[in-house]
Amino acid sequence: MNQTINSATTTEPMISLSGVEKWYGAFKALDNINMSVAKGEKIVLCGPSGSGKSTLIRCINHLEAYQKGDIHVGGIMLGHGSKTIDAVRREVGMVFQQFNLFPHLTVLQNCMLAPMRSLGLDKAQAEDRARTLLERVKISEQAEKYPAQLSGGQQQRVAIARALCMRPKAMLFDEPTSALDPEMVKEVLDTMIALAEEGMTMICVTHEMGFARQVADRVIFMASGAIVEEAPPAEFFSNPKHERTRKFLGEILGRH
């Protein structure tokens, strides 16, 4: 119940989903998803391939439409009209597995485009903001380069900076390190850890369990489109309750 009148005593969650269902034709990709993410909270979302992790976080900024349930982001109820969708997209940043930098724009231009076109910043403001954030992901010396001239790890850090240039209230990460060569995973995770320490609200789909242990407030495990189990990382890893969680952890930790 989000419509609490006494807002002094209840902190409204940054992101909340209630009863969300998503179908691809006759296939149910999300099954009665209920979750609530407080301001500053860090969630790690994991689960086997095809369990609906990407679908879930893509519903939060409406890259995927859903058929049932409600999603609130930063106090905005995500309707299906373009107005609230745009409002929500300006509030949440997203980082993709494949970086999705714009190849024809320099690193700096990648970071300036949306603040100028979507938030209406002027060029000087946008550049200022972009340079500050590129500095923060430690890549400011590459500002004039094009994406194709950067390593995967560098590209992903630029993608993070680009999303942060919108000054989002929350960040969504969809397997940000799985397309990277192993030696580049750390630089991206370090960037995400720094972001987490600054208090960003984050939902990360990742199988980096070290990251989960270090950063997550809660780990949410999904299977077959439903949330099976959620717990703080210590408990989640040491004492998983469900058989499917144990099996999943066995597989994923056994690999290392």
């Binding site: 890259l63 993709f96 494949q98 999705n100 485009l113």
Partner: protein
Amino acid sequence: MNYTLDFTPVIDGLPNLLWACLGTFTLAICGMLLAIVIGIGGVILRQSPLKPLRWLVIGFVELIRNTPFLVQIFFIYFALPLAGIRLDPTPTAIIALGINGGAYAIEIIRGGVQSISKGQMEAGLALGLHKAQVFRLIILKPALRAIYPSLTSQFILLTLTTSIASAISAYELTSVSQRIESDSFRSFEVYFTVTAFYLVISWVMMRIFALFSSRYFSYPVR
């Protein structure tokens, strides 16, 4: 075979021929610009959520690509005046070339747009940009780059197709050379020269395309 070559009529007509080259060039460049506009506009309409608009584009492309250019140009020049639209040969030729080239450009550019990964669109949308902004600012340039070779060869074809505008006596190389030929009966000399001129025109076009590409598509790809 004792035909003696005599280039005198060609040399006398040279100023005329050179001006005619410029005419050909003008038709080609204007036709191309129109074709680009129609091509990009058509692709946008082709993606419209409104079915009738999509059908309109599909119908247009099918109509133009399955009828002869000569008939299209005759239609505009001879049939439209009956509907009250009367155009001079040069604007007629430009419009016909633009419409014809545009129909091909729609299909070519659409292929380019489809070759751009969905992730680009999603990244743009996730940053709060509208679909139209994403198309214009993010998709279009890499899409054009992807199909640039096909588009330019289509435009070389368009350049050579300007010669068909001689059928309505537009001011261009073929019609001017026809006049010189029928006055002098020096068919070999005239058409030999004209062939050489067309080669040069095509070559100049290709240089322009390459120059444009090196400016506009200078960003590196992996």
